[in-house]
């Protein structure tokens, strides 16, 4: 219903969406976006640079829960932290169709960051209030769809915005967004057109899919977008001896990652040797897997622990191991590995999303924590930015932060990726975290669904169905006349 400043294509590459072009200015800190003059809101008024500027400043200055995501923008942290007024934010409308965004450091990946920046109508906000997009009478979007009905019980109804002149291709004239039946049977009945198969899929259902030639042909791999890891609270003296690198290294080396991932992941996960999942731009698995923390060696682990004064785990405090959501089977495996190989006991604790965030990252009161991180865009920065000092984790790494920031700011993409790889090596070696796995899944969609969105991307992954929630799904898809599904209903 709204237009993004930048879109991501099926390969994860950024392309101009709300803008027609973007470039970095000579100062190396300012990105200039030339906006599409033909783009209008539903009421026919043009989408101007002033709307984009106002949207960002309003969000960052009025308590935006994802303000951290835009921390690369100049003064973003200070504006969202209330230390500076929103006017000081590094975004400005140069003229009606030229928008400039300034950054604290050179930020070569900024266009990708802007894939989540959606424009609001300043005029509609001022005349109808902040909920103008929830009422069809006041709705004023800039995307290919316009709101016809919003019903909290039965869902939303959308119609094609006939005034839309943007880059998205939409084949459907109407769209109903509402509760849908779940499960494989509903998918087979054609009531849902996507179904995900992963580690959580019951074995019987997996076998059923495998024995059906049609269903099997409708199953497509989805790239791993997520890294599961556990982290140590290394703040000095807070949870000693977790602030001792030897102790952390011992705890890492006591874990047989490859075996655990094979057992727990049930064939739907790859070992995570660092933060970037396999197949992700900048992935450096071949080097990372040879680093000491990733080498399973229980004898060496015992010696390291003994050297730190905790031979056979004697005298080692019993720490809490916090998990986001329910207690993970991976965390249980790690708990068992530490007990068996080092004599260290930990207590597993599950907490819901917000409770965990508050405990582990807000209060920084979890000694060890199990968490996952999913991409926001296709650049190493999406996974590594959160490790900078001032990010979410309970650790202080000024030297690493400086190394990473320097690497991340290199404008030459080849040199940048090489430098960022070195920074990731240093991060893994620091043992502030231990990457465990990158789960992956398969997506199923009907064989009579066609169009570019139904094709595998350059890496062989299916993205047109909303890969990792980043790509704008359901565009470039349409029904074909194929009768390939008829056999599912016994015709």
């Amino acid at each position: 219903m709204s237009t993004r400043l930048v879109g991501l294509d099926f390969n994860g590459d950024p392309y101009p969406a709300g803008c027609e072009s973007y470039r970095i200015l000579e100062d190396g800190l300012t990105w200039e976006f030339k906006l599409r003059k033909e783009l209008t809101f539903t009421d026919g008024s043009p989408v101007t640079a002033q709307d984009w500027e106002w949207t960002m400043k309003r969000a960052m200055g009025s308590g935006y829960d994802y303000a951290w995501y835009y921390s690369d923008i100049k003064n973003a942290s200070k504006v969202s932290g209330g230390q500076l007024p929103a006017e000081e934010l590094g975004i400005k409308a140069v003229d009606d169709f030229t928008l400039q965004i300034s950054t604290e450091l050179p930020t070569p990946y900024l266009p990708s960051v802007m894939c989540w920046f959606l424009v609001m109508s300043k005029k509609a906000y001022e005349t109808a209030g902040e909920m103008y997009e929830l009422d069809p009478k006041t709705f004023n979007g800039s995307g290919p769809w316009t709101l016809v009905k919003l019903d909290r019980a039965t869902g939303c109804e959308w119609e094609v915005n006939k005034k839309y002149k943007g880059v998205r291709t939409v084949y459907f004239e109407k769209c109903h967004e509402g509760p849908l039946a779940g499960g494989l049977a509903a998918y087979m009945a054609g009531e849902t057109i996507f179904y995900s198969v992963g580690a959580g899929t019951p074995p019987g259902e997996q076998a059923f899919i495998n024995t059906s030639p049609i269903l099997r042909a409708e199953t497509h791999p989805v790239a791993p977008y997520l890294t599961d890891y556990f982290g140590f609270n290394t703040l000095p003296g807070k949870f000693a001896p977790l602030d001792n690198p030897d102790v952390r290294l011992a705890m890492c080396k006591a874990i047989d990652k490859a075996t655990i991932v094979a057992q727990v992941g049930k064939g739907f996960a790859l070992p995570a040797w660092g933060m970037l999942p396999k197949g992700f731009p900048g992935n450096n698995d071949d080097v990372l897997k040879e680093l000491e923390p990733n080498k399973f060696d229980p004898e060496a682990a015992k010696q390291l622990l003994s050297k730190a004064g905790y031979a056979d785990g004697k005298g080692f405090p019993e720490f809490e191991f916090w998990c986001r959501g329910s207690v993970s089977a991976y965390a249980e495996a790690v708990q068992a590995a530490w007990k068996d190989n080092l004599g260290i006991k930990v207590t597993l604790k599950g907490a819901d999303y917000s409770g965990f965030t508050e405990q582990a990252f807000g209060q920084k009161a979890a000694p060890i924590y199990w968490v996952a991180y999913q991409l926001d865009y296709f650049d190493p920065a999406t996974f590594l930015n959160i490790w900078r000092d001032g990010g979410r984790h309970p650790c202080e790494m000024p030297e690493w932060t400086a190394q990473y920031n320097a690497a991340n700011s290199i404008m030459d993409p080849v040199k940048r990726f090489e430098a960022v790889k070195k920074a990731e090596i240093a991060l893994v070696d620091s043992t502030v975290f231990f990457g465990m796995d990158s789960p992956f899944s398969y997506t199923m969609f009907p064989c009579n669904l066609a169009g570019p969105g139904a094709m595998p991307n350059r890496n062989g992954f299916s993205m047109g169905t909303g890969g990792g929630s980043v790509i704008e799904a359901y565009q470039h898809l349409h029904w074909s006349n194929s009768i390939c599904r008829d056999a599912l209903k016994g015709k």
């Binding site: 308590g63 932290g81 039965t154 509402g178 779940g182 049977a185 819901d352 990252f361 979410r392 209903k489």
Partner: protein, 310 residues
Amino acid sequence: MLNYVLRRFLGILIMLLLLSFVTFVLSRTVPGGPFGKVEVPMGKKQLELFKAKYGLDKPILEQYVTWLGQAVRLDFGVPFTAPEMTVTGLIFKLLPYSALLGFLACVFSLTVGIILGMIAAAHQNSWLDNAIVTYSIVVGSIPAFVLGFVVVYVFAAKLAILPAGGWGGPKYLVLPVFAYGFPAIGGVARWTRQCMVDTISSDYVRTAYAKGLVRSQVMSKHVLRNALIPMVTSFLPMFPGMMTGSMFIEMVFGLPGLGKQFVLSSTNRDYPMVLGITVFWALLLSVTYFITDILYGVIDPRVRITQKSS
């Protein structure tokens, strides 16, 4: 009787007051909050702005008193996740879906279950009795959502005669009502049989037979009426229970409803909605039990006599 009714109403009010207070305090004091579902915790200033906007920056007792003042006027606030509506509006928007599904499933399971229970009791210890008891144990052990997936596979995916889910008309209710009500038949049938068997073995039933009444007269006038007392107290609360407890069925069949909303509100820490639904459910159950007690007196004159004498 009036005194009894007033005492019960007072009890309900006190219970609602206590329940709302405990829910209010607990939901707001557990770690995290409605604005904590992010990868990186919000800064102090951002959190302050959010809390001030939703009145969460005041002491909890003050918040509760404010909420209570509004609640007595049936204003339960605005859901965080549906800010264009009120809590009351959203509850009554979703209630009809859950209520209709639960009511139909109840009627279905009670109708079939009571008939089966009566047949079993009338043929106690026969092969028919054994078959019905075995059947009711097996049926009662099937989780509704498992049955849901099975019926969707058979009737929607393979036979393509009924929709797999969604909301659109009577045909959309057939599978969910069946999947929801079918497992409940087992419990209803067993309890009906138990109540009937207990009554059949009573002295007054033997006396009725001794007086020369035929079996149908004994069953309808003496057995069924007396067996109704424990059945009513058990089956009437089934209605609010099933009308509000259809979360899994709502998920499987993609139906709108209060059960799903309650779970979503809890995980999203939508305080006003959680409190609103909790109080509403408690009120619904209390009123049902209250009505059950009144009906108890209507069905069984001994209860009225006991109350009079007390």
